[in-house]
């Protein structure tokens, strides 16, 4: 035989921790947060820029256009002389000291204005008459916005020194740059905090899951009391764990039951057979012993079948086979089926059923459960007594099937235990039965999202009688 291949362990990759971090949901949420935050900041900065710097530019251009149109008007009225007068006038009244004019005659000689030569960029840019140029003011180069036009043979520049505005723009740009940096830091810090908060909120669930995986099934996810999504996750986990716990308990219960109630009849059958073997002298006794042993085995088989049936219902596997059907005729059939038994014992089995009860469930299991309840009721009701099978469909609470008898009832202290496997109240020790009937009913009720409730049939009456109510959830 060849040894099984040893699983090849990959060499630890030094990038693994980083990759794991990048793959974590916390990191992704944090990244998402950072991206959203930064986008918001960028959008804000863009709007701010457009509303301030952009608006300043548009104002300058509008003023220049008006200025140029005014000068063109003057040209039409009075020619170059009028234009140079206007320019001199405008320059003289330019308190802000940002106006730039230049009027050249056809030979390129300055006629009016405050610029000593024609800027190379003026009138040649891609924006038609509009251009930016640098001009020297007291030896310092400053930026200017220029509007160029031709007046006949003359050429005219109307411009503005935009250095002041440019400085405002720079300040704004600088402010935006600084706040972007701040926003990035906020985004990163926020992302880190978010990631950490997420990890912290998930930690109880992770810890619990790890403890359970390690074998401590009693652990539950503690609730933070915030009733948020994480608490809901914890609650779902706890509900799941409770269910697993119940199933495990069921399995334990089955093994206990097997130990207790299956071993006894097996031991009895075995003892009888052994005894018969010792007394082989009498063939009649031998035969009787074998027949008894077969009967005992059949009883064991029935108990076994009942246990399996309960396990099947409890595991919930039957839910896949749920179908929609009308429960009313099913109940009527069960009542008719057991009715002959009641009649043969001088009891009355009465039904109070609505015309129709629509239900999604397992027909066979429900029939068996109701049959068990009726069978129980008939066993404990004295001759001449009465058993009532009733059912009603409530819009909110679901479906209620009740079997009430006029028997001795069940003491309160026994009611809680009545659904346990093999439990038999002291009063019932003398009657036949496996003690599994109510267990099955309870399991079927759980399978249908409901429960079995035991109570007095008629409180105050003596004896009170037992009323077993099978509640089925709205499927």
């Amino acid at each position: 035989m060849t040894p099984p291949p040893i699983p090849q362990e990959d060499l630890p990759n030094p990038w693994d921790p980083l990759l794991r971090f990048l793959r974590s949901a916390g990191f992704r949420f944090a990244l998402l947060f950072a991206v959203v935050f930064s986008s918001a900041a960028a959008g804000f900065a863009f709007v701010l820029w457009f509303a301030t710097a952009g608006s300043l530019d548009r104002q300058t251009d509008a003023a220049l256009r008006t200025d140029a149109l005014g000068l063109m008007e003057r040209w039409r009225e009075g020619g170059p002389g009028a234009v140079s007068d206007a320019i001199a006038e405008r320059l003289a009244a330019d308190v802000e000291n940002h106006a730039i004019y230049l009027l050249l005659d056809p030979r390129g000689v300055r006629v009016a204005g405050n610029l000593d030569r024609w800027p190379a960029a003026a009138g040649q840019g891609p924006d038609g008459p509009w251009s930016f140029a640098f001009v020297a003011r007291e030896g310092i180069s400053v930026e200017a916005r220029l509007y160029t036009m031709n007046l006949g043979e003359y050429r005219l520049i109307a411009g503005r020194d935009i250095e002041e505005k440019q400085r405002l723009r720079d300040t704004l740009a600088e402010g935006i740059a600084w706040s972007s940096a701040a926003a990035s830091i906020f985004a990163l810090v926020g992302a880190a905090v978010l990631r950490r908060a997420l990890a912290n909120r998930l930690r109880p669930a992770t810890r619990t899951a790890e403890a359970i995986a390690a074998g401590d099934l009693s652990r539950r996810v503690p609730s933070s009391g915030l009733e948020d999504e994480f608490d809901r996750l914890g609650e779902s986990m706890n509900a799941m764990l409770d269910r697993i716990d119940r199933l495990m308990e069921g399995v334990r219960g089955v093994s206990d039951s097997i130990a207790h109630d299956l071993r006894t009849p097996i031991a009895r059958a075995r003892a009888k057979l052994e005894e018969a073997l010792a007394d082989t002298a009498e063939p009649g006794a031998l035969r009787a012993a074998i027949e008894q042993a077969i009967a005992d085995l059949d009883h064991i088989t029935r108990v076994f079948g009942a246990l399996l049936r309960i396990a099947e219902a409890e595991a919930g596997a039957r839910r896949a086979a749920f179908a929609s059907f009308d429960l009313a005729p099913v109940l009527a059939d069960v009542a008719e089926f057991y009715g002959v038994v009641a009649e043969s014992r001088g009891q009355a089995l009465v039904t109070e059923l609505p015309d129709r009860i629509d239900l999604v469930g397992d027909r066979d299991l429900l029939a068996q459960a109701v049959g068990n309840l009726i069978d129980n009721a008939l066993k404990f009701t004295p001759p001449g007594g009465r058993v009532l099978l009733s059912a009603r469909s409530l819009p909110r609470e679901g479906i209620e099937i009740a079997v009430a008898d006029s028997g001795p009832g069940l003491p309160i202290e026994d009611r809680a235990r009545a659904g346990e496997r093999f439990f038999r109240a002291d009063a019932s020790r003398g009657t036949p039965g496996s003690g599994l009937g109510l267990s099955l009913v309870r399991a079927v009720a759980h399978l249908h999202g409901g429960d079995l409730v035991l109570g007095d049939a008629e409180p105050g009456r003596l004896p009170p009688g037992l009323r077993a109510t099978l509640r089925l959830g709205i499927a």
């Binding site: 077969i294 085995l297 029935r302 086979a321 089926f337 057991y338 002959v340 066979d364 068996q368 008939l378």
Partner: protein
């Protein structure tokens, strides 16, 4: 009847084989699914008795599916240790005709085998059933004995009909529970016995020759001769 038994447990196989042979049938036995499929496909049988779980790669369900796919309509009775309803449904869906859960009483197996072998054929729907002087009209749903009308309830009618359709055969309590009531659970009490005894009251009381007989350790049978 020629019966093929496919069962891997030697002890159960021997027990079933002997019982069926004593009842007058010829039995071939295969211990695994592959041999069983080979025999079933190559020879003519009146009935297959199959274990649901078989060694050899071909289990009972596969075997039946393969046979049915080849157009083989031989009646099939499943024997199985799997009692879950789903398993039962799976077996019947695959083409099985009946399903018996282990452990079983041999009488139960024999009754089912004989019931399957003499299943009423579909193309000849009977409208009247008659045993001695007991007559049943399936159309008007009336029962008369010796010309006298017997008042009978719908469920009793179905019970009597099932017994009469299998006249001369043993019908077990479980079979009645499954076929007449369509229940597949243990009713805990001897309810079937009570139903049969009520029917007996109506059908046999006042007549010197009883028709419904109790077969010890097995079930009931309706037949003309005592």
């Amino acid at each position: 009847m020629r019966i093929l038994l496919v069962e891997d447990d030697a002890e159960v196989a021997r027990f079933v084989r002997r019982g069926l042979q004593e009842a007058g049938h010829t039995v071939e036995h295969a211990a695994n699914g592959r041999d069983g499929l080979f025999l079933a496909a190559s020879e003519q049988f009146d009935m297959l008795v199959l274990d649901r779980m078989l060694p050899g790669g071909v289990d009972g369900v596969r075997l039946v599916e393969t046979l049915r796919a080849q157009g083989n309509r031989t009646p099939v009775l499943f024997l199985s240790a799997l009692s879950a309803v789903d398993e039962r449904v799976k077996g019947l869906k695959a083409g099985g005709d009946d399903y018996l859960v282990k452990p079983f009483a041999f009488a139960e197996l024999l009754a089912r085998v004989e019931a399957l072998a003499r299943r009423p054929t579909v193309d000849a729907p009977a409208t009247r059933l008659k045993i001695a002087d007991l007559e049943m009209d399936l159309l008007s749903r009336t029962v008369t004995r010796g010309g006298k009308r017997i008042e009978i309830q719908p469920r009793e009618f179905r019970l009597l009909e099932h017994l009469m359709r299998h006249a001369g055969q043993v019908v077990t309590r479980t079979m009645l529970l499954e076929k007449v009531w369509d229940y597949h659970f243990d009713p805990q009490t001897n309810v079937i016995d009570v139903h049969v005894s009520r029917l007996r009251q109506k059908v046999d009381k006042g007549f010197d020759k009883p028709l419904i007989h109790t077969v010890r350790n097995a079930g009931y049978m309706i037949r003309a001769e005592p």
